[in-house]
Structure formats: C-alpha cells, structure tokens
C-alpha cells in the first residue's frame, strides 16, 4: 500500500515468475482491495480539511486565553508587546499569539511521538522485516482504529504503518510552517491546526505502540497482564542496578536480552523511570518500575544506580552531571538526546566499558541498540564494587548543612508549588526532619529550589533522605501495560456506555507536575472505580495511582480487575498507548454502533462527542506531548481536565452553560435543531482543586444521547459528589434534567423541587438522535 502512485521502469527484473527485460509498470494509488468498507470522505486529511468540524466545537468551547507572557519573542522584529489590543510588528494579536504557542506545543508533542515511532520502526524493520504482520490485540479485528479513521488505510504489516508515518510527517511540517511569522493570523484557525496536530499525534502514537507490541510480544490487550513492582523499595540494592530512563524501549530490550542470554538476570536489577519503565515491564515483568518522571533526581540522589541508560524524552537534561555526582556512568542511546557525549557506536564494547569504568569519560553515546546491552551490563558489574565507597547524604551531614541556611526564602519562591522548604530546612537544623518528609510527596523533584539556593544546599537530597528516614520509600504492585481494548470488550460494554448506563470512562493520563503530589491521582481513580466508571490509565499517572495501599496493604491494582468494564482499572501502558484510549472510543462508534470508520473522521467524532461519556484527566500535565494528546481528544469530542499548572498551556476551552443558543443540536431523525443542555460543559478545563476536578468529571460524563436511565445514573454521581465536596446540591441541575425520568429515583422529590424553582419545564431540553453534522440528518431519513 502506498500513498503515491508509482512508476517502475526496470531494465531487467528477475522474479519468481521469470526474467523480464524493459519492464515498464505504471500503477496509480494502490489500495487494499480486500477491505470492503468503502472509503470515507476524508482519508489523509490536510491541515484545512476538518476545519469546519473544529469550528463547530470551537464555537461552543471558546478559548479563554491566559498569556504566560505579555510579549512575543519569536522573530527579530520583536520582542513585541501584545497586551490589550496592541499588535505585533507582523500584525499579530495576543489571542493569535497564544493559540500559535498552543499549536507549536502540540506540534512539538506530536513530532516527539512521530519521531519516536519512526526511529523504532526503522530498527524493528531491520530486525523483523517490513512484512512482519501486525498483531496488536487478541479478539480484535479493528486493529489500529486511529490509523483507519484518519488515513483510511488498514495496516496489516510494519510497511503499512510506514505509510501512516509518512502522512503524519508531511502534515506536521505543514503545521510547523504555519507558526512562521506572517502566516496564520486567526486564533481560531490556529486552534483548528492545533487540533489537527493532536489528531496526527494519536496516529503516531498508535503506530509506535502497534509496532512494538507486534514485534516485542507485549501483552496484547489482556485483562490479566502480569504484575510487577513499582517504587524505590522494589529494587534489591544488593544487586547490580541499571537505571533506564526515557521512552524508547529498544536499548532496554537489549539489556534484558543480554541478561537473559547470559543468565545474569538474577544478579541484576533493571529499574525504569517514565515510559521506558512501562515498556520494559511489558517486555519482561522482571523489569521494575522505579517511578514517574519526577523521581529521576530523587532516585539518583540515593546513589544506588551503578549505571544510567537514557534514551529519549522526559529526561533530566542535566543527567550526566547528576550521575557524575554519584559516580555512575551514563549511556545515551538516541540521536535526539546526545547530551554532548562522545559517540562510541562503532568502538569495541570492551573498550567502551573500560573507558567508562576508568572514568575517562562521564558517559558515552551508543546509537546501535544492539550494543547497549553488553556495554551497560558489563559496565554495571564493574562499577558496583568501585562504587561501594559512595556514601549518600547522611542525617548528620543534612542537619549540619541545614544549619547554614540564610533564611533568604529563595527556595520557596523558586518552587513551582511554593512548598515551605525554608521552614522545613530550619526545622531540620533543629534536628527534626518531619517537615522535610512531609514535603517530599508533594515535591515534583524539579530542583529549582536547589538551583536558587545561594548556599547550594542539596535540597532534593534533603527531602529524599528525610522521607527515607520516615520509611516512605516502599514497594507497590503494578499491573503491566495491557495495550489496546479488544473488540470483544467493546462489544460487551458499548451499549452501556453509549446509553449512559455505565456512567463513564475516566482516563488518567499524563505527567507528574502535580500541585499537591501524585497521590491525588489515586484519589481520583478510587473515587470513580467505586462508582463503577471504567478507569483507564497510562504513563506517569498509571504509576502514581499505584503508590498507596489501604489498611489491608492492597493498592488499587490489587483491588480492581484489569478488564474494560464498569469498575475495571486498566493500565493501558506507556504514553504512546494513549492511542488505545481514543481507539476504544472510536471502536465504540464502529463496532457497537456500526458507523463506518474508514477515512470518516467527522462522523465518528460527532458520534463520540454526542454519545461516549469519556473524560480525560491529566492531573499533572506538563509536557508538549500532553498538550498534543489532549488536543487529539478534543478533536474527537472528548473533554480533558488538567490540574492548576495546566492553565500554563495558555488557554482553556470553555463552554457557556448560561447561553442556551450555544447548545443547539440537530436531531438526526428530523433535522430539527434542539437545545440539549450544556453536555459536556467544557472541552479543556483547568481545575483548581482535586475535589473540583472530581465533581466536574462526573458532570462532564453526561452526553445528549444518554437514556433516561443513563442520565439518572450520571446525575446521581454528580449530585452525590457535589454534595460531598461542595456541601450542597448543584445549582445547575435544571440544565441536565430533560424529563422527570432523568432524575435519580431516590432524589426525585428534592431535585424536582429545586429545578422547578428555577423554572424548569419538562421537554425544554431535547432528547434526540444528536448530531452536529447536517449530512448526518439525511443519513437517517
């Protein structure tokens, strides 16, 4: 399958059926004839193709911009002051500049996944061949739903995935170009382009995960994926310790393979941070998960790792300096993160090991994954005894150093969360590290406090030591990433979701830039698991929710099953596995509702938006990847909630519940336009507190298509959560109750009383076959 037409002119060709001379073959677009689904209207959409759909959403959910800076500094005309109604030297407005930065962030995010996919693909094709068959999930025909939906192709081999990547790359370059000075000028057009980047990102992520699942034999959508351990306590420090950081599993695979082949796994701990950890454990459950991105520094400061292997994305960019401090060599493995290290790809492994062990270089760059295993393992074995003398910060030293604090409060001002470090340091100087230990779980490990400290106090080490002292460095169970949701699962729950009887799907995704620590993610998960939502998780969030045990010593992974059904808790996998979450929504439309998938983006998005009560929560969203992942959800009509730091993405997309005219929706049966209420109220929303986020999640799970039974279930959760956290009934119930039957049975009297006081009348809010697309009306008539 190729997206281009093709002409071959070959002087001599020898093939299995004979030898041809002067062969001249011309072939147009080669399509997959075996796929009987006809091509939809928008295969391989370009940057403007889905603009109308985007504008429909963006008219409802208008951007509220919060500039992170008054200026634009992107060209030498600048810096330009854009405050108020001032324009830049290129004519740009503040609104356009904010959306331009959103677009750039989404482009960087999507490029990151796409580049990662391309890099892996090249390697995997070398090893497994271009014709390697894709095998992504058990019991599943609709593999790679994002790719099918967007590209209109049905990938069967690695080769087919390359076509999807080609397309994503071409489009991303178009989008990045748009950010050039003097191109796009309209903020809504910028937003639409950001949506495009997000959609592309989900294709890129799907490709990345599809190729690694298929070749490396990761769990293929199984509910009972194996358990492994997470947390500092999971590492047996008497063993040799290799720490792997990043997102590209290939170098780690080589480490694991080398350990297996050489029967050394018993003597070595392979601990990962960030998505490499997820993917290592998907490859071999003996690989341990140390924790999310925010734990890198913390873990290095323990002094335990004997060698640090980094690949790409979400690394501490000062990792070489930090590893040097504990005498651990660094092995960099990606052209994207070369970290200034000498390229030793083509040198004999033993020479490299020798140079690392002798400290002739703080680290090396090895671009061939097949060489990383040997070098990393040999180096680690030799370093272990050499490093035996390393002493991490002692309690005495901590207290002594704490005494030198000048009370300048620079640490607090530098801390993204304004954590009260100064006071804790002063308490430590008096001998008590309780305050430090209390801070530690809320610390995102960024070391800005250290950087700002005029006394150069190693404050992150202070926190780590204090927490350790208090026994806060435990080990927890984590089910390894299972990958996609299977067709069979979709078939079973589709109805419940679409008609609202399963109250919703809550997706806990993204990074660890939490306002008050990662345990809040466990709080959210537990709240919605108890309420029998389906809870899916990926990336750092899938790790953080594991980090609390109940009285019985069990954590959420141990208490809730891993299948895609009400009350299920699914670790989907690493960041690239996020594509399976949108993929599940798409498959509900395709498999359950039989909507055509192929190149049919608008109809599917319209379906998901109006019928699938899914809500994404990226409580600690930090990165450009998080931005593009969210953006891909928006275009598909899935609302996303972020924590307070998420407001730094520069805008929210907010609906106006008070404007009836904003919520007019077509009835697919009649073509009539009807008010459906503000469902879902927002598309992108930054919550100030966890409690606010939970109540909002319940509210955002409502959809116009809910049956009365479904709406009643959803309302009951909304009301219940609201009562708990806001201390009263919600005051907007009149916007969500369509008919009396929508009201949860046990609350009927109370609710009807309230809403009638607000002038509620039955039938004002329509119950219909909801769609935003004109052409969907005819389809039904």
């Amino acid at each position: 399958m190729s997206k281009k037409d093709l002409r071959l002119k070959i002087d001599e060709l020898s093939s299995s059926i004979g030898v041809f001379k002067g062969l001249d073959i011309q072939i147009g677009r080669i399509v997959d004839d075996e796929w009987d689904e006809p091509m939809g209207p928008t295969p391989f959409p370009s940057i403007g193709t889905l603009r109308d759909w985007d504008r429909k959403l963006l008219e409802r959910y208008k951007p509220f911009y919060m500039p992170l800076c008054d200026l634009c500094c992107l060209c030498t005309f600048g810096k330009c002051d854009l405050t108020g109604d001032k324009k830049g030297a290129c004519g740009l407005t503040m609104a356009a500049q904010q959306s331009r930065i959103v677009l750039l962030a989404c482009c960087i995010g999507a490029s990151t996944h796409c580049a990662h996919a391309r890099h892996m693909m090249n390697h995997l094709i070398k090893v497994y061949g271009r014709d390697h068959t894709l095998d992504i999930a058990i019991n599943t025909n609709v593999q790679a739903p994002n790719t099918r939906l967007v590209c209109g192709i049905r990938p069967k081999t690695l080769r087919d995935l390359e076509d999807a990547l080609d397309y994503v790359e071409t489009q991303l370059v178009q989008l990045v170009a748009t950010a050039h000075t003097g191109q796009e000028g309209d903020n809504i057009d910028f937003e639409s382009k950001a949506f495009h980047a997000g959609m592309l990102d989900h294709v890129a992520m799907e490709v990345a995960d599809a190729c690694q699942i298929s070749t490396l034999d990761f769990p293929k959508g199984v509910a009972d994926a194996p358990m492994t351990e997470i947390g500092f306590g999971s590492i047996d420090t008497s063993k040799v310790v290799i720490m792997c950081i990043g997102h590209n599993v290939l170098p780690s695979v080589d480490i694991i393979d080398y350990l297996m082949e050489n029967k050394l796994f018993e003597e070595v701990e392979v601990g990962g941070l960030c998505c490499t950890a997820h993917d290592n454990s998907r490859y071999d459950k003996r690989a341990k998960v140390l924790g999310p991105i925010s734990w890198q520094l913390r873990y290095i400061r323990t002094g335990i790792p004997d060698v640090v292997v980094v690949d790409e994305q979400c690394l501490r960019t000062d990792i070489v300096d930090e590893a040097q401090k504990i005498g651990a060599p660094v092995i960099a493995t990606s052209e994207k993160s070369m970290l200034g290290l000498p390229n030793r790809t083509h040198d004999p492994p033993d020479e490299i090991v020798d140079d690392l062990v002798e400290g002739r270089t703080p680290g090396v760059l090895i671009l061939e994954p097949d060489k990383v295993g040997e070098v990393a393992v040999k180096t680690a074995f030799k370093m272990k005894p050499k490093r035996a003398g390393f002493k991490p910060l002692s309690m005495e030293k901590l207290i002594e150093l704490a005494g030198t604090c000048r009370s300048c409060i620079k640490c607090v001002r530098a801390c993204p969360n304004n954590l009260p470090i100064m006071d804790a340091v002063k308490a430590a100087a008096e001998g008590s590290v309780d305050a430090l230990a209390e801070i530690q779980p809320m610390c995102v490990g960024c070391a800005r406090c250290e950087s700002a400290c005029p006394q150069n106090l190693p404050l992150v080490s202070f926190l780590t030591k204090a927490a350790d002292e208090k026994g806060m460095t435990d080990s927890f169970a984590i089910r390894v990433g299972r990958g996609a949701v299977t067709d069979v699962e979709i078939r079973e729950v589709g109805r419940g979701i679409v008609f609202g009887e399963i109250p919703g799907i809550v997706a806990l995704v993204g990074c660890a830039n939490y306002p008050r620590g990662g345990l809040e993610v466990a709080d959210i998960a537990e709240e919605f698991l108890k309420r029998r939502f389906i809870v899916v998780a990926t990336g750092c969030a899938a790790m953080d929710l594991a980090l609390r045990k109940d009285e019985d010593g069990l954590n959420l992974y141990e208490k809730y099953p891993g299948n895609f059904d009400a009350g299920g808790l699914l670790n989907i996998g690493s960041c690239v596995s996020n594509a399976h979450i949108t993929g599940a929504a798409i498959k509900i439309a395709n498999i359950f509702a039989k909507r055509p998938l192929r190149g049919n983006y608008e109809e599917i998005a319209d379906y998901v938006y109006n019928r699938v009560g899914a809500v994404g929560i990226a409580w600690g969203a930090m990165s450009q990847k998080a931005a593009s992942i969210a953006s891909g959800c928006w275009r598909l009509g899935i609302p996303v909630i972020v924590g307070p730091h998420g407001a730094k993405y520069r805008r929210n997309l907010l609906g106006r519940a008070d404007k009836e005219e904003d919520w007019m929706t077509l009835d697919g049966r009649t073509g009539e336009e009807k008010y459906v209420g503000p469902v879902p109220e927002h598309l992108f929303y930054s919550a100030e507190t966890l409690e606010e986020a939970m109540v909002m999640t319940a509210k955002l799970s409502m959809r116009p298509n809910d049956t009365t039974k479904g709406r009643a279930v959803k309302l009951s959760h909304y009301i219940d959560l609201h009562k708990t956290y806001y201390g009263a009934m919600p005051d907007d119930l009149h916007l969500y109750v369509r008919v009396e039957a929508d009201v949860p049975f046990t609350m009927k009297k109370e609710v009807l009383g309230i809403i009638k006081d607000k002038g509620w009348e039955e039938g004002k809010i329509g119950m219909l076959d909801p769609t935003l697309l004109d052409r969907m009306v005819r389809r039904k008539s």
Binding site: F64, P67, D81, G84, R413, P644, S686, E688, Y726, G727
Partner: protein
Amino acid sequence: MSAKMRTGQTAEIPGPKKAHVIPQPKVAASLIKKAKRPLLVVGSNAPKLKTNDGDLVDSAIRFLKTGVAVVATGHLVKTFRDRGTEVYSMPFMNLGDRLTDPDWAGFDGEGPYDIVVFVGSLYYMEWLVQSGLKSFAQDLRTLSLSNTYQPNASWSMGSMPVKNWLTALDEILKELEEEK
C-alpha cells in the same frame, strides 16, 4: 528597585503593563468603596491562610457583610457553607472567562462587576487569570489583595511580610465596615 516590586515567584516577571502597587490599605479600601458592584474572588487556599479574623474565609465573610459580593472558586464554597454562609461558587477558569464577557450580567443578573478583588488563590493561577483579564477584559478593574505582588492586576498589594499583610487586610476591612 523597591522590595515591594518583588513578585511572588521568581520567574513571574512583570511585563510592559504592570499593576500599580497599592501604597496604603486605605487606597485599596477606597477603590472597593467607590465601586458600584464589587466582586471578591476567594481562592481555595483561603482556609490555609490565617488572618486576624481566623482564616481568610472568615475575613471573606466580613467582606460579604460589608456588601461585597463573594464568589468562592475550586470547591471552597463548602467551607463557607460549613460556617453557615452562602456565597457564589464557580470554577476559577469559568469565572475568568465570564469576566472577559462584557455582556455577562454577574451572578445576580444585575449587570457587570466594576471591580474584581482577588485573594486566597494559588499564586500562579491568579497570575494567569489576571493575565487573561489584562488582555481580554481591558475595561475591567482588578485588585489583588495577596501578600505578594501580582503584576497582571490593575492594582496589587506589594510583596510584604505576613504580619504587615494581616494588618493591611484588617485596615481595609475596617475602612469598608466604617462606611456601612
């Protein structure tokens, strides 16, 4: 530069359009007094901030009693309710968004607010919302009453020690109460 101009977080730099520093509590009080429809926005940090009245929620209730409309963001309204006081409630983001709409007639439908006073929010979140208002609600006057300078407001208290801030807050309230 004067210590008062120091921002609440290191990297939060004031831009070309910056808040006037409130020189004295009286000035803040008179800004509020002169307004026809003032709104006080109380952020979710309020219960953690101790004041002479107890905490910032208690102080906000004092504001309410002087006739200033009060809205709690996050889930803070529960704390007010627990203390027997009903105030408006709205997510901070929604509120920021509504305030950029000159047609929004306020919680009571009586018309737009003419000064919006902020207190008790996460520093960076208020910074951002104020930034949105600075550019997209240019006619709206905003006042930040935290003890750290908020450069994006129209007026802001300067950064000051907590003790001074407590006194200042008290003075503002007294001024408002006197008028009543």
